[in-house]
């Protein structure tokens, strides 16, 4: 997992409680309170959805919840902005196709 653990200005990475999320069926570790997208990037996952028209992969652009580049289906709810939505223990996250589909809400 890729984390910036030592930083010349910010010092060592502060401790955080670990939570577990499921991403496309795979269980992955995350830090409590971090945005879903940060956890995914730490695991080297850069594609969050496949665009509706051109079927092209999309991911992070703005990081502040404006551009919708990073939307995914989270706990059955499509179009969740992963850059501004914190992880929660047990979250089920799926790479979204196009506009996504409503699934079983947990």
């Amino acid at each position: 997992m890729k984390r910036i653990s030592d930083h010349p200005i910010l010092g060592p990475l502060p401790e955080a409680r670990e939570v577990w999320i499921t991403v496309d069926g795979e269980r992955l570790q995350a830090r409590e309170g971090e945005p879903i997208l940060a956890a995914l990037l730490a695991h080297g996952i850069h594609v969050q959805n496949i665009s509706r028209k051109k079927k092209a992969p999309r991911g992070l652009f703005c990081g502040i919840g404006r551009c919708t580049g990073c939307v995914m289906t989270v706990d059955g709810v499509p179009n969740v902005r992963t850059c501004v939505t914190p992880v929660r223990d047990g979250m089920v996250i799926e790479t979204q196709e196009g506009l996504g589909k409503w699934g079983d809400r947990k």
């Binding site: 910036i4 930083h7 850069h46 991911g59 992070l60 652009f61 501004v84």
Partner: protein, 372 residues
């Protein structure tokens, strides 16, 4: 029903300092922000600020953020996080509070401090994962402590491009180069010198012409840059392929003005300040009575100017409610405006000072016409 004198939208530098200033004078202030954490973009600013000591030069952005949060807390300001403001209507201000829809507020004054969002840049491959906003990179590496990529091309040599390049180096990433479309570097010389000393080449009169995908088309594999002629057109034959997995875009920001638009405020255009901006007077009040703007939403500048504009809007809003004696309020406003003038000096600041002045003049003209 939330009962408040002044509603501030946005808990960044402008919003928090507006709230602090108004609350200090006895106004009841509520700050709303859609994020789960306050501070806006302050907490990703790990560099020391510029200017004079009065403008907190030498202090790192996140320390300013912590100090402001302490201040608003001690002044009894209510900060509502995870709260989206979706519109300003005759009936009141519409909020979604932690998913609870249609919470209506009827504040007596509103300060919009909604900030700005990063501009994209169009070129073949611009939607590939790995083409990212420079500010987004800054958030990921400095706040969330995750790398966005290993080898980065920065597009744009303004202060954001230069500072984020340096912070990428601090985070352990490699910055392969910075391209700048203009013939000279856009940002401060000291920031440029820092990245140059670290061995990062700055390609002036260059731009990115395309992002090349990896074999399964899921991420950037390389960037193609080219030299620009005097008409800003790429010169054929000067293309150069750089081995990068990330292309960070630092080509300016656009004010997030939707709420002012919904409220019916009149707008003006300033390319230098980021685009369409709500017209405002020297108290930062828009053409809608009692609606103020502060920080990037009133013209994209810097965190230091956002802090001062916030104070100005806070004082003006509180004074208009009779919370500050008129003479004292005018004195305070004068002092803050002077401080803003100090911040808007030098080769970069002078142009911004003129642009801001034009907005105030246009507003005065409009008011003159109305009363005539």
């Amino acid at each position: 029903m939330i009962d408040t004198d002044i509603l501030v939208v946005g808990a960044g530098p402008a919003g928090l300092s507006a709230a602090a200033e108004a609350a200090r004078h006895g106004a009841r202030v509520t700050v709303v922000d859609e994020n789960e954490k306050p501070g806006g973009q302050l907490f990703k600013q790990i560099h020391k600020f510029f200017g004079s000591r009065r403008h907190r030069a030498g202090v790192r952005g996140f320390d300013i953020g912590y100090a402001l949060l302490d201040e608003v807390k001690s002044l009894g300001v209510e900060v509502m996080l995870d709260t989206v403001c979706y519109g300003i209507f005759p009936e009141g201000v519409g909020l979604v509070v932690s998913g609870k829809r249609d919470v209506l507020v009827e504040p007596r004054r509103i300060v919009l401090a909604t900030g700005a969002s990063e501009n994209p840049l169009c070129f073949p491959g611009w939607t590939l994962p790995g083409v990212v906003g420079a500010g987004a990179v800054q958030t990921m590496i400095n706040v969330h402590r995750v790398p966005v990529g290993e080898r980065v091309l920065m597009v744009g040599s303004g202060n954001v491009g230069l500072i984020v390049s340096y912070q990428l180096l601090q985070s352990g990433a490699q910055v392969v180069g910075i391209v700048e479309a203009l013939p000279k570097v856009g940002g401060y010389g000291v920031h440029a010198a820092k990245v140059r000393r670290a061995g990062v080449p700055i390609y002036t009169s260059h731009t990115v012409v395309s992002a090349l995908p990896n074999s399964d088309n899921t991420r950037v594999k390389a960037a193609v840059i080219a030299r620009l002629d005097e008409n800003m057109s790429p010169i054929p034959g000067t293309e150069k392929e750089l081995d990068v997995d990330t292309i960070a875009i630092a080509v300016g920001l656009t004010p997030m003005t939707e709420l002012a638009f919904i409220a019916g405020a009149a707008f003006t255009y300033s390319g230098l300040l980021g685009g369409h901006i709500p017209l405002h007077d020297e108290d930062l009040m828009t053409t809608v009575e009692g609606l103020y703007v502060a920080g990037d939403v009133s013209g994209v500048e810097e965190a230091s100017t956002a802090l001062e504009e916030g104070r100005l809007a806070g004082v003006a809003a509180a004074a208009s409610l009779g919370k500050i004696p008129e003479v004292e309020a005018e004195e305070k406003k004068r002092e803050i405006r002077e401080s803003l003038r100090d911040l808007r000096t030098g080769p970069f600041g002078d142009a911004r000072a003129r642009a801001k002045e034009e907005i105030v003049n246009e507003m005065a003209k409009r008011r003159g016409k109305r009363s005539a």
